[in-house]
Amino acid sequence: MINFLKRKIKEYLWRKMMKRYFKPNEDFLNSCRNAFINKICREISSAGESRFYLFVMWLKFSLAIFLGLAFLGSGAAVYADKANVDCGHPLYNLKRAVEAVRIELAVSEQLPVLHTQLAQRRLDEIKKIELETALTAEEVTTKIEDILDTATTTESTTTTTKKITTQKKTEEKIEEEKNRQELMANLRNQMRQEVSSVIEQIEKKQIGIDSIKELCQSVSQIMKGDEETDGDETEESHTQRWSRFQRNCGEFMQVELKNNQNINNGQR
């Protein structure tokens, strides 16, 4: 037992002695620590700082791009609205968006005038599309006739291939025509909505008499213009709209209204 204890004490002592011998110099540890910490500051922390700097730069760059785009966008929007770009123009949707914003921001007194302006715009657009695509519709009919002729007269493979190609083209044309019709219907619908909004405003009688007269004249012109185009409106809604117009605008433009109705009845 005593020997064991002696051995353990001896072991403890030699370990202590060895540790002391293999102990690093405190001066060395301090200088090494400083070198280590300096390197952290120089390389890792500075990398963090440079990342922050890059982030700030990126933020500035993004802001500049955003402002540039906003400037260009607003310029394009103003141009689209002022130049009254036509349907199919790349900026047309922007123009519609600006119109929507204008309606949202307009004061109640200006609203009927704005609706009238927009209804007039839609009417102009419808007329332009009709003019531009009138030929195309005729072409479609001719093409269809051509295909029918070709189908009955030839049976060879080449002709069939040609026929298929022509058929495809025709289908595309038909699709285009369909889209055109949809667009026209959409525009008409929007125009009538604008007109309804104007009439509603007149019904509320929140507008001065002079303004009502002007508005009624504009509205009647638009409605006449609507009839001139190839509208698909039902007889019922047409009569309803005119009677509503007559009810609200009749007393301001009696004479003119009678004449118009006579003309309309004659046309129909």
Partner: protein
């Protein structure tokens, strides 16, 4: 323990000086002793210790927590540094290493003890004769007081085989001290 150092490593990666300081305080002495045992030279051990800590900053971005603990990874850097050192230079023979006056005074704490100095010389000779892994066990177990579990992680050996190694080293050292 592992989690603690992994957290410190994460902080160090972000450039936290305090985390770096904590890591230094925890590992510097152990690593110095390890180098001292492996190279037998105080100067070389100091150079390698400094080098390994500077290397740590360069490599900290490559440390992947999912592959293991930070301490294991860091010790691996230290071990590779020794290997690189031996690859580059001829090992300094421990027997040729002369203890400087300063070292002597450190070790003897001002007491002129020729008996102890002699023992140290004997131990140095013994260390020189030890195998590489035995030297590592000696440094980590007897000088740095690490647990077998920690040493097992560093040396990638089982605890049982480490115990056997440590016992063998202990036996040889005891023989030196029992020769009185």
């Amino acid at each position: 323990m592992t989690d603690r150092f992994n957290k410190l490593a994460r902080r160090l990666r972000k450039g936290d000086r305090r985390a770096g300081e904590e890591i230094f305080n925890n590992f510097s002495r152990q690593i110095f002793r390890f180098f001292m045992v492996r190279t037998g030279s105080r100067e070389t051990a100091e150079d390698l210790t400094q080098e390994v800590f500077l290397k740590l900053i360069d490599k900290i971005k490559t440390f992947n927590e999912s592959l293991g603990s930070f301490s294991g990874w860091f010790w691996q850097i230290a071990k590779n540094s020794v290997k690189d050192y031996y690859r580059k230079k001829k090992a300094v023979a421990l027997s040729d290493m002369l203890m400087k006056n300063k070292e002597n005074s450190d070790f003897l704490e001002g007491k002129n003890d020729p008996k102890a100095a002699l023992k140290i010389e004997e131990i140095k000779d013994l260390i020189k004769d030890l195998k590489e892994e035995e030297q590592e066990v000696f440094s980590l177990r007897y000088l740095s007081d690490m647990s077998y579990r920690q040493i097992a992680k560093i040396m990638r050996k089982s605890e049982t085989s480490l115990r056997v190694l440590a016992h063998r080293v202990n036996k040889r050292i005891r023989k030196v001290f029992n020769n009185d």
